[in-house]
């Protein structure tokens, strides 16, 4: 399934817990904020937002990474664009 992952750089404080939990999806940049990766790669360069295919396990790991963020700076949307984390 496809999911969209967005890091809000205004909320990101550089805790880097997302990188610890899902190192193929998040990477710290020189401003101590997290870029979003697609399976370890950055097609079209650095970005705070990506949409790509994930397996069930990969989605689970990415949601765990979002939960680990102390400032809820990682937002996740499903294929229909509905926000699945944080739950609101």
């Amino acid at each position: 399934m496809k999911i969209t992952i967005k890091v809000d750089p205004d909320l990101c404080i550089g805790a880097a817990s997302c990188v610890t939990v899902a190192p193929d999806t998040f990477q710290m940049n020189e401003n101590n904020k997290a870029w979003v990766l697609d399976h370890g790669k950055e097609p079209d360069g650095h970005t705070y937002e990506r949409t790509f295919e994930v397996s069930d396990d990969e989605k689970e790991e990415i949601i765990l990474a979002a939960q680990s963020c102390p400032t809820l700076a990682v937002l996740i949307y499903d294929e229909e664009g509905k926000q699945i984390f944080p739950e609101n």
Partner: protein
Amino acid sequence: MNYVIIGAGPAGTTAAEELRKLAPDSHITLISEDTESLYSKVLLPFYLKGKIDRDKLFVKKETWYVENNIEWVAGETVEAIDTKNKFVAVSDGREYPYDKLLICSGCDARKIEEDPRGVSYLRTLADADHLLQLMNEIPSCSHSQGGQQGVAGGDRECRVGIYGGRFIACEYLNIFHHWGFSITLALRGDHLWNGILDEQSGRLLSQHLIEKGIDFVPGAQWQGTLGDSELTGFKTSKGEFDCSLLGVGMGVAPDFSFLKDTEIQTGVGILTNEFLQTSDPDVYAAGDIAEVFDVYARRHLRLGIWARAIAQGRIAAQNMTGGEIPFKQVSSFSMSVLGVDVVLIADCDPKQAQQVVVRKNNDESGIIQLFIRGNKIVGATLVGDVTERMLITKKIQTDEALPQEPEYYQNPQNSL
């Protein structure tokens, strides 16, 4: 099975969520002093700077608990635990029996003796709401223009004070600076994070604060507040300072009073093995109150970090349901202090290191301390330039001996 969890913060709530998944037919009771559903304390500074609305603080809706069949006993305190008969006595007069118990009751802010209006703490949402109220009461001066620098040496009404030298004091700095108040920061140590940061890292931060117009008063022993029912200032061994609002950051302390009838061992926190199990095999601990045997540091650590609490909550639940999974995480703490990045990774107590290596970049705008024990990096501090933080984190995780002598890593040209 009856699972009882004390504390509904990130560790307790995550544990409850995981237990519900792993043991769908079990009875789960979550007892908390808080009456709010889970919110992030780390987001409070954003709320206090007006960057997010109050409702964005919450991680779980109030209805989440009942929707997941979790009995949430809110607004009550645990008075005692009977580990022989396995029940928890609560201020609502009830006794909650358990098969397995998890303690995630966290830590409270250390308070000063006096309580005039104008004293602020920054631990809970109630503290944050109170601080907003206090800031709004400060008469309009240049701060009301939102973000502009306060008038240096301006009248008392515009001046705020901070007492403390670590994380919370720095959050107050960021918040007060955002609103343009004139700030006096007094602290007991010679520099911020005294006892953790080396002199050079400390000096880098001190100079930065002074350049930003902060009245910086190190080496100041706390002596008390000034004013009766309304704060007018505070006094220290370095003198008296006027202010109408004082942010206090004197650290946190756990409350062990409810353990008095048990033989559960404590140190600076509740001691656990790497499986988060206390000295009583049916009692576990997680989060800020837990002093866990850390498999990387090879000693017990108590670290108050959100991601650590979340991960510990999950692992505790897995082990309470029959698992035997060690908690393994190289945790780090990261913040920006008026624009200078500070990262503290894992075990960064210099007194526990066999060797401390200082590594500076060429213009000394970035200073790193590496803490080494048993020829391995066990922790680090980074101030200014934090780009090597993930490399250092990985080095700790791989748990391998350093290939070179520690002194080799002083030179920033030599890669880690």
